[in-house]
């Protein structure tokens, strides 16, 4: 009896952990595909599909010292927090708690970036905070919209309920903005980037090298994984629609990224709150009009 009870809890837990730890691999491939697509838009061959995984392995294998011990600890902590937020989603726990824990992970990253006195890192920190101020309320409002449709904030209940993406179609725009912020694509590439086509080439990650940059990258991948699952949750009962929604929002971010180089933080604020915010507020009003019962 005891062993069967143990198995009943252990097996799902292990499954959640396995999926959580596998999610960065999936995100690495997704970003490799992203770089391929972007390259083909620019008529280039582009890097191999596994490029993000090569980059991460190389960074982990570099011989580098952290610029600051506090930053090193905070970077490790933000990976754990971000992974925890993804695990909460897969475990079917409370969506609002998961969103807030992801917010904690991002704050830890901001503290890590701000632990050094480099002026570029400090500039990057200010911009990371702007991104957080755009993304966090949008994500919470979208979670509230999900919850109103499903009648519960539990991820399991939302996944089983009527797809929020069908009930509240304007949510799609908000989800696109959230994905663009998670991917740090233009106009949300204001804090740091791999590319040289924007205002600030290196900001928040200026003083991170080797394995410490890899930790920052890993935390970032968990953040992307969280947002991708969050988008899939808008249509979890219809897997085809969920995949279509991810593909559509991703395509939107790639097109915007390639047509809006050198956007400034004002553009980020205008697009983030103007587009994403307006869409989620319309969705919330709709959800209140259509509500049949709920939290």
């Amino acid at each position: 009896m005891v062993t069967s009870a143990l198995a009943a809890t252990a097996v799902p837990t292990l499954l959640v952990l396995a999926v959580t730890f596998a999610s960065p691999l999936g995100i690495g491939l997704l970003m490799g595909l992203d770089r391929k697509v972007t390259a083909s838009i620019q008529l280039r061959i582009g890097p191999p599909l596994l490029q993000p995984l090569y980059d991460l392995t190389k960074l982990l294998a570099k011989r580098a010292n952290p610029a600051d011990r506090l930053a090193a600890g905070l970077l490790s902590a933000q990976v754990v927090m971000a992974a925890g937020a993804v695990a909460l989603l897969f475990a079917g726990a409370d969506l609002v708690v998961a969103v807030l824990i992801l917010g904690v992970a991002r704050v830890l990253f901001i503290l890590a970036a701000g632990a050094v006195e480099s002026p570029f890192a400090q500039l990057g920190v200010g911009r990371e905070i702007i991104l957080l101020v755009i993304a966090e309320p949008l994500m919470l409002l979208a979670a509230v919209a999900y919850g109103t449709v499903a009648g519960s904030f539990s991820v399991a209940a939302i996944a089983a309920a009527e797809p929020p993406a069908l009930a509240l179609p304007t949510l799609g725009l908000t989800l696109g903005v959230l994905l663009a912020i998670a991917l740090r694509k233009s106009p949300f590439d204001i804090a740091t980037s791999h590319h040289a086509h924007q205002e600030l080439v290196k900001g928040s990650t200026t003083e991170m090298a080797g394995p410490w940059l890899a930790l920052a990258e890993l935390g970032h991948w968990f953040e992307i994984a969280f947002v991708v699952v969050f988008i899939a949750l808008a249509a979890a009962r219809l897997p085809i629609l969920a995949v279509g929604l991810i593909a559509a929002t991703y395509a939107m971010t790639i097109v915007v990224d390639n047509t809006l180089p050198r956007a400034t933080w004002r553009a980020a604020l205008a697009v983030g709150w103007g587009l994403g915010g307006a869409a989620v507020i319309v969705a919330l009003v709709l959800s209140q009009l259509l509500r049949t019962g709920g939290p």
């Binding site: 770089r35 390259a39 620019q42 008529l43 280039r44 061959i45 582009g46 890097p47 191999p48 490029q51 995984l53 090569y54 980059d55 991460l56 392995t57 190389k58 294998a61 570099k62 011989r63 580098a64 610029a67 791999h194 590319h195 040289a196 080439v201 290196k202 990650t205 200026t206 003083e207 991170m208 090298a209 080797g210 940059l213």
Partner: protein, 195 residues
């Protein structure tokens, strides 16, 4: 079937060789080479197919591209940038000035080629070299990133020419393209660019 440890080692080596991130430092030449380096990184030459990314931060870079002659004012800065880079790393000296001082050689403020300040692994000749030559220089440096190498001393200019201050230093390195007289290089570059 290979051992897991061996597989991991092979994966790490492969990753290191497929992800050469560049940092670019101009010691103070005429900017011709710098423009060619930027050209190398445009979509036209698609350096990203080799995993090349231009980073603005020596701490995150694997290959240091140096242009221009080493001089009194910036030898310390160049050395500092080199020391900030994490192993495994490689240095590519781009252009005639970086190799031996170029047209600035003999001027009172010029120390000579950058090989007198940092250990250079690959010399790319030309004044300026073409983007194809520069990309070939980066590719030539990639195998050097596979493993962490022991610390290296500055080894002077490309083999047969030695360094300005008569410090022959280290073994002769074969330049990837035959080094020619600067004037010939200018002529050849202009022919190549008139495609």
């Amino acid at each position: 079937m290979r051992e897991p440890r061996e597989l991991l080692r092979a994966w790490v080596q492969r990753s290191r060789m497929r992800s050469p991130w560049l940092v670019h430092f101009d010691c103070g030449g005429c900017n011709g080479c710098d423009i060619e380096i930027l050209d190398t990184l445009t979509p036209r030459h698609s350096a990203e197919r080799f995993g090349v990314i231009n980073v603005g931060d020596p701490r995150q870079a694997d290959i240091l591209f140096v242009t221009g002659p080493a001089n009194q004012r910036n030898a310390r800065v160049l050395r500092n940038i080199y020391d900030e880079m994490a192993e495994p790393k490689a240095v590519v000296a781009v252009g005639s000035c970086a190799a031996h001082g170029g047209i600035f050689r003999g001027a009172p403020n010029i120390l000579g080629g950058v090989g007198d300040v940092v250990p250079v692994d690959v010399f790319v000749s030309g004044c300026p070299p073409t983007p194809e030559q520069i990309l070939a220089g980066a590719i030539k440096a990639i195998p050097l990133l596979a493993e962490v190498r022991p610390e290296r001393e500055p080894g002077g200019g490309p083999g047969d020419h030695g360094s300005v201050h008569g410090r022959p230093g280290g073994e002769a390195k074969a330049p990837i393209f035959t080094w020619r007289d600067t004037r010939t290089d200018v002529k050849r570059a202009s022919v190549v660019s008139r495609r």
